[in-house]
Amino acid sequence: MLEANDLACLKGDRLLFRGLDLRVVPGEMVRVAGPNGVGKTSLLRILCGLALQEYGEVRWHGVDTRRDRESFHRALFYLGHAPALNDLLTPLENLRFACRAGGDAVSEAACIDALGRIGLAAQRDLPARVLSQGQRRRVGLARLFLAAQRPLWVLDEPFTALDVRAVADLAATLSAHCEAGGCVVLTTHQDAPFERPPAVLDLAGVAC
């Protein structure tokens, strides 16, 4: 279970939000909503431990995530704005590296299978620089299929640049993860076709 208590976020010398409380229980999906610049990405980065909050704390299963970084990051899968792709490597090499550097011992066959499921079987051995925006996005998303043992998924605009069918597939994958007892926190401006609409955390309510 992910908990955030009384979070405040300072960007430069501007206070983005304060007094933010968040609870994500297993099986729950939370959509962080709000207009551009309200601090959605900043909130996700604070939840992951990539950025430091001005005030408040983030707890994973009751333990402050800064005190036990290792086990929290073992449970976390984060997908940011940047797809973490190196242009000189192929999607397969990028995916394999992302998994191994993240401490997941995955086999080559599992990576190939994940790329096939995300619809990149034909582009597996092309350098990443020739991929389109949507295809680049998919390489990052392919890790979702290899991150099933990580209960907490934090996704920043996962639907950007995807076509209609990929959006539906991704929504189904996220719903399935929640049904299996995982937690999902995501931001999106799109109305994705979820079976069960996610809980909404509107940042406009705590914005300064």
Partner: protein, 225 residues
């Protein structure tokens, strides 16, 4: 243990593979080293005793400058494409993969300098038996430069004009390495033996390996915030 080594090996392999695919960048560093060294005889004239006297210093300063030339690339690409974020979210210790990155960087940019140095030393008519000391001093000293430089590269990551700032930040830190590196060859040629200098360089290397990765990891975390 294999769990700990997994990310280390993954980062090392990937960075070496990237260096191989972008070999032009790597050759630029080596070419810069060769050209800077070759410029000195043109500048100071072909007086053989003078060339012999300045050779260790010239080779060391050139090695230092070419190290500096490639340092800003160490984290810049990974920072831009988001790989660094993912690496920082790895449950494994940050210092571990930082060492892998620096090691790959040294293999690609430092090792060629060490190997090219004896050939260039011949241009300055350095005595044959001093070449071994020169190679040894560079082999011990250039990893220190890479490790210290990595801390500077992490501190200046994402800053405007980071390249110039990086030079200002790390060049003063390179001074002791330069003194003992060039001094090793000088004292060998003077007949007093290079052992003391090489031991100091070795000690410096051990100290840098022990401390720099942690400083670098902390600097990277700050850079991401």
């Amino acid at each position: 243990m294999s769990g700990l080594l997994g990310p280390f090996v993954a980062v090392l392999r990937r960075d070496l593979m990237l260096a191989w695919r972008g070999r032009a960048d790597v050759l630029v560093t080596l070419a810069f080293f060769v050209i800077v060294v070759c410029l000195f005889p043109f500048g100071v004239g072909a007086e053989i005793n003078q060339l012999r006297a300045i050779a260790p210093g010239v080779l060391w300063v050139a090695a230092l400058l070419s190290t500096l030339l490639s340092l800003h690339r160490l984290f810049a690409q990974d920072h831009a494409d988001g790989t660094l974020e993912q690496l920082l979210l790895s449950p494994e210790p940050t210092a571990l993969w930082v060492v892998a990155k620096v090691a790959a960087h040294w293999i690609v940019t430092g090792l060629p300098l060490v190997l090219a140095a004896p050939g260039l030393a011949l241009l300055f008519d350095v005595e044959q038996d001093a070449l071994g000391v020169l190679v040894l001093s560079l082999a011990l000293g250039s990893p220190i430069l890479a490790l210290l430089g990595a801390v500077g590269a992490a501190l200046t990551l994402g800053l405007r004009g980071g390249g110039v700032l990086l030079a200002l930040l790390v060049l003063p830190l390179f001074v002791p390495v330069l003194i003992f590196g060039a001094g090793a060859v000088d004292s060998h040629l003077a007949g007093t033996g290079a052992t003391a200098h090489l031991l100091l360089l070795g000690g410096g290397l051990l100290g840098a390996v022990a401390l720099a990765p942690f400083a670098c990891a902390a600097a990277l975390r700050i850079a991401m915030e």
